[in-house]
Symmetry: D2
C-alpha cells in the first residue's frame, strides 16, 4: 500500500464485469466520502489494444496494458482486479498474490475446485487482502435479510429455496466460445449455469443459512451442439444448460436450488426464500429494492406478507443514496462492495466473501456437478461454521 491512502487498481478485462467494477471505483467516494481510502484507476488491461484504449478513456484509467503480466509486475499498482473469463482467474490471481498485490476476483473463483484451492493457498501464503465479487450480498434488501436472519426472528429454519432463471441461450444459433459467448464453453467457463448462476445462489445461501453438507443434483444440456467461435464448426456443448439440486444445510434445513438459461420470459430472475418456524423471507432480483417478510407473531387477523421497499435511511446502505421511495439498481451492489473493501483496508476485517469463503461455494458447485454426473448424493466438505467463528466481516451496513 502506498502512502496517501490510495488504492491503485489494475483491472484485467474490458467486458461486462469490467464495466460494473469500474463504475464501482468511480462512484464510491461520491457516496461514501467518509472513507479514508480512495481508488485510483491506474491501469486496465486487455489483449486487444484498441479496445483497451477505448475502455480506458471511457472509464478514466490512467494507462493501458495488453499483457496481464505487465499489470502484475507494475510497482504503482496495489490491487489486481480480475474480470477475465474464468479460465484466467487462477493463473492471474496466483501471480498477483505472489507479487504481493491485493486481489479482487470476479466470481466464480475458478473453473474447478482444484484451481480454487491453489488460489486460496497462494492468497493465504501471500497474506494479501482479497475479495470475490459475489455482489448480490450487497443489495440492500439482501443485506436486510441477513440482518433479520441474524436477529434470530426466524427461529428454527426448515427450508431454503433459490432460483436463478434466464432465457438468453434458447436460440440454437448462438455459438459457444469467444468474447460474447465464452459462458457456453466449459473450457473457458468451467461449467454452465452451475458456476455462473448457482454459484451466486449458493454464496447467498451459505451466508444467510450456513454450510451446505451434501447435495443431490441433476443437470441438463438442452441444445447438444453449437458452432464453436474458434473453429466455426458444430461441436458438442460441454456445459450444463440447467441444473437443480437439493441439499441439507448444517442447521438441518432442506435446500432446493434451480438454475437455467431456458426459462422463457425470465431475464435474470434470481429469487430466494427462507422459511423459519416464526417468520419467512423472500427476495427477487427483478424487484431488487423489495424484501418480502412474513412474521407469524403479527396479530392473526392482519397477518400477511409484507412488501418492504428497502429505500429508507435506516435500511442497509440506503443512508448513502437518495430519499425514501427512490430506488437504486443493480450496479450499486458493486459500489457497496468497493466501499466495504476500502473499509477493510482502513479498519481491518474481511471484505466478504474472500477467497477462502468463495472456496466453500466452489466445493458445493463441484459436489453438485459430481452428484449430477453420478446420480447420487455427494458430501461437500464445506467448513462453514469454523470460518464464520474466526473472521470478522467489514460491512458498512453493519454499523447502522
Amino acid at each position: 500500500m502506498e502512502n496517501n491512502k490510495k488504492l491503485r487498481i489494475g483491472l484485467i478485462g474490458t467486458g461486462f464485469m469490467a464495466r460494473t467494477h469500474s463504475n464501482g471505483y468511480n462512484r464510491v467516494k461520491n457516496f461514501f466520502p467518509e472513507l479514508e481510502f480512495s481508488p485510483v484507476l491506474k491501469a486496465v488491461c486487455s489483449r486487444n489494444g484498441e479496445k483497451v484504449k477505448a475502455f480506458a478513456e471511457q472509464w478514466g484509467y490512467e494507462s493501458t496494458e495488453t499483457d496481464w503480466r505487465a499489470v502484475v509486475a507494475r510497482d504503482d499498482i496495489d490491487a489486481v482486479d480480475i474480470c477475465t473469463p474464468n479460465d484466467m482467474h487462477a493463473e492471474i490471481a496466483i501471480a498477483a498474490a505472489e507479487a504481493g498485490k491485493m486481489v479482487l476476483c470476479e466470481k466464480p473463483l475458478a473453473r474447478t475446485l482444484a484451481e480454487a484451492k491453489q488460489m486460496v493457498d497462494a492468497i493465504e501464503k501471500a497474506g494479501v487482502k482479497n475479495t470475490v465479487w459475489y455482489n448480490y450480498r450487497r443489495v440492500p434488501a439482501v443485506t436486510l435479510a441477513k440482518q433479520i436472519v441474524d436477529s434470530g426472528k426466524l427461529g428454527r429454519i426448515f427450508h431454503y429455496r433459490a432460483n436463478f432463471l434466464q432465457d438468453w441461450t434458447i436460440n440454437a444459433s448462438l455459438p459457444q466460445g469467444g468474447a460474447a459467448t465464452w459462458r457456453l464453453d466449459a473450457d473457458a467457463a468451467g461449467s454452465g449455469v452451475t458456476g455462473d448462476l448457482l454459484a451466486h445462489c449458493i454464496d447467498t445461501a451459505m451466508w444467510l443459512n450456513g454450510g451446505i453438507k451434501d447435495v443431490s443434483a441433476v443437470t441438463e444440456t438442452f441444445i447438444k451442439e453449437r458452432v464453436h467461435q474458434s473453429t466455426g464448426k458444430m461441436q458438442k456443448v460441454s456445459i450444463d444448460d440447467a441444473c437443480a439440486f437439493f441439499c441439507h444445510f448444517d442447521n438441518g434445513s432442506l435446500g432446493l436450488f434451480e438454475s437455467t438459461r431456458y426459462a422463457r420470459g425470465h431475464k435474470a430472475l434470481y429469487t430466494f426464500e427462507i422459511n423459519g418456524e416464526n417468520a419467512s423471507i423472500r427476495w427477487d432480483l427483478h424487484d431488487l429494492n423489495r424484501l418480502e417478510y412474513f412474521d407469524n407473531a403479527d396479530d392473526s387477523i392482519v397477518k400477511g406478507w409484507s412488501s418492504i421497499h428497502v429505500t429508507d435511511g435506516d435500511q442497509p446502505y440506503m443512508d448513502k443514496w437518495w430519499v425514501p421511495g427512490l430506488s437504486i439498481g443493480y450496479e450499486h451492489t458493486f459500489v457497496h462492495q468497493v466501499a466495504d473493501f476500502l473499509k477493510s483496508l482502513e479498519r481491518g476485517g474481511v471484505c466478504s466473501p474472500n477467497f477462502r469463503e468463495a472456496l466453500e461455494t466452489q466445493k458445493v458447485c463441484q459436489a453438485v456437478l459430481e452428484s449430477a454426473s453420478a446420480g447420487s448424493w455427494k458430501n461437500t466438505d464445506v467448513e462453514w461454521r469454523k470460518k464464520q467463528e474466526t473472521e470478522k466481516e467489514a460491512m458498512l451496513s453493519e454499523e447502522v
Copy 2:
C-alpha cells in the same frame, strides 16, 4: 312472518342480480346451518312467461308470476326481492311495503333522491324489515377493513380514495335501453356510472369513514349518441359514462372518487384506500380475498404493505367456508347478506345497509350529479352520524 321460521321469498326479475340473489338463498343454509330461519323460494316474476319458467326451474322457485303486483298480493310471501331495472324499484318497493312485505332491494335504491325518499317513507311507515344489496361490504376483506377501522388503529384519517373502473361500453355500436343495456339509458337507470358504480363506492366509503358533507364533481359522456333498443334510432346518450368527484368527510378527511366504463383493460376494478395517521388500508375487487395493510407501528426496518390473504377462520365469515388459503369469490357476498338478513329476523337489528342508510348514499349521488352539472361544490345533507348512533347492525362477522 309464518310459523316454522321460513322466509318465503318473492323475487322480481330474472337478470344478473336475480341470479346472484337466488344463489344466496340457495346456499345460505349449507354454510350457515345454525341460523333459525330458512329462505323458501316461493315465486319468481318476470313479464316474459317463458323466461320466468326457465329461471324458476333453474333456481328452484316453486311458482312463477308475470305481474309483480301478483307477487306483492300473495299471502304466502313474506319478502319481496327487487331485481328489476332501477325504474321499477320505487313503485314495487312502496307497494310491497304497503302490503306489509319485507323488502330486499337491489342497489341503487332508486333513480333519484325524490324516489328514494318516498321509498324510505313507505318502508318506515310500514315498519317492515328491509335491506339494500350493497354487497361489497360483505367481502370478508372489506369487512376486515371495517374491523380495523373500528379498532381505531388508523388514527386520524386524512384520505379516502376509491375507483370503479370498467371497459364494457367502449364499443360505439352497443345500443342503449332494453334488457341487456338498460344501464345506458337514464330513463331506466337514473344515471350512468354514478348510480351503478359510484353508489357502491359511496356506500362502502361512508360505512368505513363516515358521512360525506359536500362534493365537487365532473361527469363525461364520451359516446354522445347510440341506437336506442326500443326505437332502433340513434338518440342522444343521457347517462354519464364517467364521473369523478372530491369530497369532504365529516371526520375532516378528503375523499376522491372516480368511475368509468371506458378504462380499457379493467373489467370491474373496484379499489379503495384509506390513509390514516398510523396505518393505511387498501383493497381491490379483482383480488377480493386480499387486504393490504400498512402499519406504521411496525419495527421500522421491516415496515411494508402487508398482503393479507383473508381466508383464515378467524377472519370475517371465513369460518363458514373452507380452510386457510382457499379463496371464495364474488357470489359469496350475497350469501353473507342473506345470512345477515336471516340473523336480523332472529335476533333483531338492521341488515345494513337498510333503506334509510341507502338513502344517504342516494343523497351523495344526487349531489354529485348536480355538482357536475353546476360546476361547483354541493352539500349533501347526509345525516350519517345520527343514524349510526341509533341503530344496531346485524352482521354475523361481528360476533367473531
Copy 3:
C-alpha cells in the same frame, strides 16, 4: 342408472371433502342447467350417527347410514362418492365397483401403488364410470393453461416446476391420527405431503406436460415425534413433512417439484410454471383466477408477463358464472367436476382423471417415496402416452 336421468349419490364421509363434493352436487344444476342428468343426494354415511344426521340436514341428504357397506348395498344408489381418509379408499371402491356402482373417489386414489392397482382392476372389470377428484384441473385458469399448451404455442418444453407449500403442521403439539389430523399418520394417509399435496401437482403436471419417466427425490420429517390421537402417547412420526423431487418428462423437459407443510406464511401456495421455447405460463392457487403468460412472439419493446384475469365468458367454464372481472373461488372446481361427470353420463367419454389416470399419478408418488428412501433415481413405469391416445375426455370447457 335409473330412468329419469337422476344420478343418485351415496356419499361416504362427512369431513372437509364431503362438504366440497356436496356443494358441487347442490350447485351444479343452478349453473349448468343444460345438463340432462341431475344429482340426487340419496344418502350420506359416517360411523358417528349424530354427526352424519347433522351433515345430512345441512346438505340435504335424504337419508343417513353408519356403515358404508349399507350404502354400497342400496339399490337406490347409482354412485358412491368416497370422502374417507385414504385407508378406506380401496376397500370401499372395490366393493362399490363389484356392486356395479359408479365410483367417485377423493384423491389420492390410494395409500400405495398396490392398493391403487387393485382398485383399477376392480373398476375396469366392473366397467363402471369413475373419476378421482383432482379438482385443480378445473380451475378455469388451469384449464386455460391446458388450452394454451394444447394449442402448441409454447413450442418445445424445457422446464416444468411446481410447489405446494403450507404451514399448518409447524406446531409440535399437533397430534397425529384421528379425525382432524389423520393426514399426519401414515397408516391412515399412506404418506405425508407426497400423497396429499404433490399428488395434485403431479396430476396437473402430467395432464399439461405428459408422462414422467423417472424421479430423484428427497423427503424430510422435521418433527420426529408427536402424540398419537388413538394412544395418547408420543410416537415416531411416519409421514414425510416435506418432499422435493426432480424428474424427466417423456417430452424431454426437466421437472422440479416441492411440497411442505413447514413453509411459514404459505397457507396453500400451489404454483406451477411451464417454460417453453416460445412462451411460458405460471399459476398460483392463492390468486386462482389469474394466469400469467409470457409470449415471446410479442413485439419486443412491449414484451412482458401478462396477468390474465380469467373471468371472461370465452374463458373455460366462465360463461356459467357471473360477468367479466368477478372472481370465483376454490369450491367451483368441484362444481365443474360434477358437471363434467354428468356430461360424461350424457355423452360418453371419461371424466378425467379416472382411476386409470390417477394410477399413473400413484406410480409417480410411489417412485418418489422409493427414490427418497434409496437416495437414487427411480423409473416410474408411467404409461401416459398410450392412455391419452385412446380415451376421450368429457370437459364442458372444451366445447367453448
Copy 4:
C-alpha cells in the same frame, strides 16, 4: 461555449438535487461515451462556506463560491445549474440568462406564474440553451410509454390519471422553513404539493397526452400550524398539504390528479395511467423499471395486463446500461437528462422540457391553486399544441 467541447458547469446549491445533478454530470461520459461534449464541474456555490467546500470535494468541483452572483459572473462557466429552494430560481435564472449563460433549472420553474413568465422572457431574449429538470420523463419505462403513445396504439384517449403520494410530513412536530423543510413554507416553495409533486405529474401528463385546458381543484392543509425554523414560533402553515384536481385535456380525455404528503405507507408513489380505446398503460415510481400495458388487440383468451421489465437493449436508454433483467434506479434519470442536454449542444434541438414548456406546467399549477381557492373551474391558457409543432426534441432514446 468554449472550444474543446466542454460544458463548464456552475452549480448553485448543495442539497438533495445538487447531489442528483452532480451525479448526472459525473457519470454521463462513462455511459454515453459517444457524446462529443463533456461536462466539467467548474464551481459549486452555497452561502455556507464549509458545507460548499465539503460538497466540492465529495463531487469533484474545481472551485467553490458563496455568492451565486460570482458564479454567474465567471467567464469560465458556460452553464448555470440552479438547485436552490424555489424562491431563488427566478432571480438566478434571469441573471444567468442576461449574462449569456445556459441555464439548467430544477423544477418547478418558479413559485408563481408571474415569476415563470419573466424567466421565459429572459431566457428567450438571451437565446441561451435551457432545460428544466422534470426528470421522470427519462425513466426508461416512462419514455417507453411515450413511444407507445406516439405510435398511436392507444387510439382515442378517454382517461388520464396520476397520483403522487408521500407520507413524510404527517408528524406535527416537523417545522416549516429552513434548509430541510423549506418545502413546507410557501414563501420559499411557492406552494406545497402542487408545485413539488403535481408539477411532475402535470409535466409527464402533457408530454404524454397533450395540453390541459381547464381544471377544477381542491386543496387541504391538514396540520394548520407548525413552528417556523426562522422564528422558532408556531405559525400558520401556508402550503397545500394535499391537492386533487380533474381536468379536460385538449384531446377530449378526462384527467384526474391527486397528490399528498399524508398518505401513510407511501414514500414516493408516483403513478400514472392512460386509458385509450385500444390499449392502456400504467406506471409506478416504486417499481420504476416496469411498465404495465394492456393491449385489447391480443387474442381474447390470453388478454391481460403485461408487466414489462424495461431493461432490454432495445428499450429506451437501456443499451447504455447493463444486461436484460438488471435494474437501474432513480438517479439514472438525471444522467439521461444530462446526456440529452449534451446531445442538444451537439446536434441542436430542445432538451425538453425547456423553460417555455415548463411554463405551461406552471400555468396548470397556477390554475389549480386558483380553482381550489375559488371552488370553481379555471382555464389554464396552456398552448401546448403550438409548441409541440414547432420544436424538435433532443432525446437519445428517440434514435433507437
